[in-house]
Symmetry: C2
Amino acid sequence: MITTYELLKKAKAVSLSAPLSTEVKNNALKAMANALVCSADEILSANAMDVKAAKGTVSDVMIDRLRLDESRIKAMAQGIIEVAELPDPVGKVLETTSHKNGMTIAKTSVPFGVVAIIYESRPNVTSDAAALAFKSGNACVLRGGKEAFRSANAIVKALKKGLSECGLNADYVNLVEDTTRQSANELMTAVGLVDLLIPRGGKGLIKACTDNAKVPCIETGTGICHIYVDKTADFEMALNIIENAKTSRPSVCNAAEVCLVHAGIANEFLPLLKQRLCDNKKVEIRGDKAVCEIINVTPADENDFDTEFLDYIMAVKVVESVEDAVNHISLHSTHHSESIITGDNAASDYFVSRVDSAAVYVNASTRFTDGGEFGLGCEMGISTQKLHARGPMGLGELNTYKYVIKGNGQIR
Amino acid sequence: MITTYELLKKAKAVSLSAPLSTEVKNNALKAMANALVCSADEILSANAMDVKAAKGTVSDVMIDRLRLDESRIKAMAQGIIEVAELPDPVGKVLETTSHKNGMTIAKTSVPFGVVAIIYESRPNVTSDAAALAFKSGNACVLRGGKEAFRSANAIVKALKKGLSECGLNADYVNLVEDTTRQSANELMTAVGLVDLLIPRGGKGLIKACTDNAKVPCIETGTGICHIYVDKTADFEMALNIIENAKTSRPSVCNAAEVCLVHAGIANEFLPLLKQRLCDNKKVEIRGDKAVCEIINVTPADENDFDTEFLDYIMAVKVVESVEDAVNHISLHSTHHSESIITGDNAASDYFVSRVDSAAVYVNASTRFTDGGEFGLGCEMGISTQKLHARGPMGLGELNTYKYVIKGNGQIR
């Protein structure tokens, strides 16, 4: 067994070697995709062992996330091919300045170096994250959940095979073998070896990283997303958007969890909302006092406005104004995505300029916060912090920059 | 006395209020500059008390940094005026995407919110940092060194007066009243109140932030900058650059601390280097074994290659090749600025692509790593990390972005 420290040193070494050309990287990605499909038998039998071991210890939803089949493996391979087809983010000259002394100063995009990703049990994250890190010029160190270790290990083995077949160093893609908390802590504190840490998972993991990480870290994912229905909202539009944001995929971070309704329309709107969500879609509404006076729903307790339900549950509250809505959001949001439904430009301008979230919507569903939908072509996660990357992180966000200055003897 | 927590809450509140227009901000900056000049008497008498109290407890260099006079106050005011003249970074549409469903997705620059700056005893940092934070739309919380507290307090009072005269909330600029370690720790851990922490100071402060900060933090400043003299270097150019990088201002972070010399030219070049640095400029060279065999200088111990001297001292080492130089740099650099002096494009390409620093130079002095020199017009510090900002941070680097999505009922 290789220690996490040894793994990190190997990743760091390869990250400092010659940058690979776009063509070399794309060919390697295709070889990785091919190796994945060719290794389907090994991956599926490793996965069967993971599934067998997990049964009875985790929920059925988790088992479903964990389970692979031929078509899921093909989809993973296809995902890698799609990354190969995206533009290379490395080496772009972002800005150039000519100094009056004749030097040229070029702000140039470069990889971070070693990107570590801590994630949970979905095996496809292994190949997705590896492909994105590799295409953006980074070496990656993956640390998945222990339930999926055998699957992840078989996947990484295939990816490394793909790299080797192209004559490349297989250390670009690495899986941490230790799946105890110890290895996560090692990644969080590996100053000088981990250039960027991306935790992908629930609140507990993100908090552990915020609390303990000594290396640069991008928080991702938790989304308590709000939809505010203004007094000038088109009701049908509002209902469609709320239904979509709440029920089209409740388990994802861009699903809406809270609906705020302007007091001036609450009497009319709330019965329609109840009909649309509860009667048609079996959503449980948890209402504040004012809501419960209008419709017969579960009374909300205070925690309900600070909970990422990831389920068919929505907290609903009556607010007095757009100012009041923005205030509530500023106290309870996780700064992911919020939307205003309104016919009033002054209200939407107010909302857009004051709401401090990665994505702020006017008259659209929060479900669009996604790398693919935003034109990034892919996604490593959705940042809910403000440093470096905000919202969906694509290939560009996996690069930093450096200044390259060329002169012929200039002194200051 | 106001507690640091209360101060942060006030700063957070004002940061969430209506964004100010460019004109309003520029007028306020001019009023702040004017108030500074008008308050010169109060500032100078507060400063005289600081200087008196500091005498005997700190070095003469520190006393000189601390001391203000009329012309330094005028220079501070002029600095604020110059910030007013810079372009406003807020509200720029960085990228726009039209979704095929008709939504527009605009990646838009926005302030961080509350920027906290921990710095040491130079009073001018107080007005510089406040002006940059204000122009970039942020509220700032300044925490200076205790030696300069009275001066900083008088300066902040004047700046607040300028804000009030324009009818603006004076909470945009705040000085922490507690100058013990406690308040620095409070800033580092104020999750949800501090949106960005910038420590400006020595290694100890930066390390304390890396170790303890739970809020987003940008490391600045420490510079162990290297100059590598390749075997094809023009000797006169190399000597000029090294002399400039080492001696033009040894106390700043972009001064060179280490010189690496290719073995193939060491016999010829080192005596010239000794003449230029030691005989002409009274620099102490600390050489490795190979250097000491060629010129008679102080033998270096291992620490000398990991020390930011900030003084007329330079560590010098013989390396076998550009690869060897890059290797040494990757082990010892603080990722600030490094330069290669060479006549060989292959060597400079190798150096530029492998050296993992904020600024990488070919045939120029490291002393150019500076916001003004890089065309940013100003500087909040020089980032030596890779997340968000690298190298000199100007107004643009004091902004983050958000996605603003406008639709007319789109669902996914």
